[in-house]
Structure formats: structure tokens, C-alpha cells
């Protein structure tokens, strides 16, 4: 048996899971706070816009978005396999393509800021 090439997709999945586990709860909390009109001072629109205007701010945001999307795509691929969809290669191409296209779109809009 040859060694698998799955580490490539799994490594990104694992990294995405770790990032998402840290970012998501904070994001949920902040969105709730914002919904109730209580945006903390350091998270005002102007400050976030300034953050996204810097090159390293763009890099951080794109990294988080890409890893989170990849994580979701890989999880969906495994879930579909578990519920009986056996066309793994087709599913893999489809879900990873969505993650890739959405990441490219995110990069495009980030660069316009």
C-alpha cells in the first residue's frame, strides 16, 4: 500500500478546525453584541476598516476565511460519504472548488478595501 496524499487536504481541515474553534465563539458573541447596539470601542466600523486596509490585516482575514471554508468543505465531504454518497472524487472536487472560489472572492474584495 502506498502512503496516502490525504495529509494535504486533512492538514488544512485540521488547521481550519482549530482556527474556527477559536474564532467562531468570539464572532457569535460580537455579532450578538452588535445586534444589541453595543459594539466595543475597538471593534467599531472605522477601526475594523483600518485593520482590513493593511496588508497583514488582509492576510489574517483571508487566512481565517480560507481555512474555515476548507474545514467546512472537508467536513461536508466526509458527512456525505457517511450518509451514503459514494462518489467521493466528485464530491471532493465540488466542495473544495466552492471553498476555493469563495476564498478567491474574499481575496478580491479584501484587495479592494
Amino acid at each position: 500500500m502506498a502512503k496516502s496524499n490525504k495529509p494535504v487536504v486533512w492538514g488544512l481541515f485540521a488547521a481550519g478546525g482549530t482556527v474556527t474553534a477559536f474564532i467562531m465563539p468570539a464572532l457569535v458573541l460580537l455579532v450578538l453584541l452588535a445586534a444589541f447596539g453595543r459594539v466595543p470601542d475597538i471593534l467599531t466600523y472605522e477601526k475594523l476598516h483600518a485593520f482590513a486596509a493593511q496588508w497583514w490585516g488582509k492576510a489574517v482575514l483571508l487566512g481565517i476565511i480560507f481555512l474555515a471554508l476548507w474545514h467546512a468543505a472537508h467536513r461536508l465531504r466526509i458527512t456525505l460519504h457517511d450518509v451514503g454518497v459514494r462518489a467521493d472524487a466528485t464530491v471532493a472536487v465540488a466542495v473544495y472548488a466552492v471553498a476555493a472560489v469563495a476564498s478567491v472572492a474574499a481575496a478580491f474584495y479584501l484587495l479592494r478595501i
Binding site: 500500500m1 496516502s4 486533512w10 492538514g11
Partner: protein, 247 residues
């Protein structure tokens, strides 16, 4: 006062006479300190000598008496009657062919276990006569948990991925490979990686975690498999991006 009894509904199958498995019900006396294995022994001794099942130590050490009790893979010697309702269904371990009654065919697991080389492989240049290879408590701690596996195969019965893909190497075999890979006296990791880093090795695992939930010895095979995935991922990047780096 009438004696309390429980009803054991046991799967019966004799390949020589039965076309398919059936269930047979046995009334068994209830004792606070009895486990399901005691109830099976009572049936064998007093009600039906034809019932077949594996067991040996009666103390959760030998790993022989794994079976499904009310749908959960357990050691029959560790499953107390007091923890179950009065109707108890006993079936052979899921995902294995039935040899007879509660006895399963375990050839698949035995073959997989042998393939991962679950023994110390010393370095080639190490003389066989090297008498003592000392280990610090910290080095022992790196793998001790994984030595507790008793090959009872409950994790294989619990693993939905093994149920879906019989070629999957499975929790216990990979956890045992991991046990030797982490041993400071071992030099056989490269040989084992060829087996466990394949698609049918660790990569068929989707981290359901059921193996660790049912493990009677708290080995945590799911944790071992995640560590194997991380190590195999580091290997992959080293082999493909830094081929000049000697492992």
C-alpha cells in the same frame, strides 16, 4: 416472595442447521453482583448446553467476551445486570461475521493486527545482545496508555467507518502501531507508516470517537489516531517539500 428474574434474549445461529440467525429467550435469576457473563454461564450450565460464546478471565483482562448488550459493544464480564432493564438483548459483536451464536469470526482483525507489526523493532545497527535498554518515566508515559489494549475488538464493533469500509485498518490496530512508534526503544516507525499512513490506514477514520467511548481499558484509540494523522501530515510535508531532510 418470588425471586426476581431477568429475561435474556440471545442471538442463536448454527451455520449447519440455521439459514439465518434467530433470537432465543432465557429466564435467568437476578443477582445484584452478576454480570451478563454470569447470566450466560447460568444458561450454559442449567438451561441450554448448546449456547456458544467466548470467555476466559471474567475480570476484563483477556478481552474474549466482547458482545453487543442492548445494542452497545461491551465486555460481558463488565456489564452488570443491575445497570440494565429486565429485558436484555445479547448479540455477537457488530461488523464481524458470526461463527456460531455469540462467537464471531475475528480473522480480519487478527490479520490487520499482524500487518502493523505490533512489536519492538530494534535499530539495525543495534547488537542483539544489547542487554538493557533503559527508559525514563517520561519516555514510558509517552506510550503506556496504548499498551493497555486487550484486543477485545469493541472499538471495531463501535466504529461506523469500519462498518462502512471493511478494508479500514481500524482503531485498535492503528493505536497499537502508535504505541510502538512512540516507544524510545523502537526503530520500526518507517515500516509501520507504510501501512498505517495509507488510505485504508488512518485516513479512513473520520474521528467519530465511538471507539474511545466503548473502550473498556480507556486506551483512547481515537486520540491515538488523531496523533497518527498529525504525525503523518508532518511526514508528508517533509517527504514532498523537503526531500533532502533525512527522517
Amino acid at each position: 416472595m418470588s425471586e426476581r428474574r431477568v429475561s435474556l434474549e440471545v442471538l442463536r445461529y448454527d451455520p449447519e442447521t440455521d439459514s439465518e440467525p434467530r433470537f432465543q429467550r432465557y429466564p435467568v435469576p437476578y443477582h445484584e453482583e452478576w454480570v451478563v457473563l454470569d447470566a450466560l454461564n447460568y444458561i450454559k450450565d442449567h438451561l441450554d448446553t448448546t449456547l456458544s460464546y467466548r470467555w476466559s478471565c471474567h475480570m476484563a483482562v483477556c478481552g474474549s467476551c466482547g458482545m453487543m448488550v442492548n445494542g452497545e459493544p461491551v465486555l460481558a464480564c463488565k456489564a452488570f445486570l443491575r445497570d440494565y432493564p429486565d429485558e436484555i438483548r445479547v448479540e455477537p459483536l457488530l461488523h464481524f461475521p458470526i461463527e456460531r451464536d455469540l462467537v464471531t469470526v475475528i480473522d480480519d482483525f487478527m490479520a490487520k493486527l499482524a500487518r502493523v507489526k505490533p512489536y519492538l523493532i530494534p535499530a539495525r545497527d543495534e547488537p542483539a545482545s544489547a542487554a538493557e535498554r533503559r527508559q525514563t518515566p517520561a519516555e514510558l508515559k509517552r506510550f503506556k496508555q496504548y499498551t493497555l489494549c486487550i484486543n477485545c475488538m469493541l472499538c471495531y464493533a463501535a466504529c461506523p467507518e469500519y462498518g462502512l469500509m471493511p478494508e479500514f485498518l481500524g482503531p485498535a490496530a492503528i493505536a497499537l502501531a502508535h504505541r510502538y512508534n512512540r516507544d524510545s526503544r523502537d526503530a520500526g516507525r518507517d515500516e509501520r507508516q507504510e501501512i498505517i499512513a495509507a488510505n485504508e490506514g488512518v485516513w479512513d477514520c473520520s474521528f467519530v470517537g465511538a471507539c474511545s467511548e466503548v473502550c473498556p481499558k480507556h486506551v483512547d484509540p481515537a486520540g491515538a489516531l488523531q496523533q497518527v494523522k498529525i504525525a503523518s501530515t508532518v511526514d508528508w510535508y517533509k517527504e514532498h517539500l523537503m526531500p533532502w531532510v533525512k527522517k
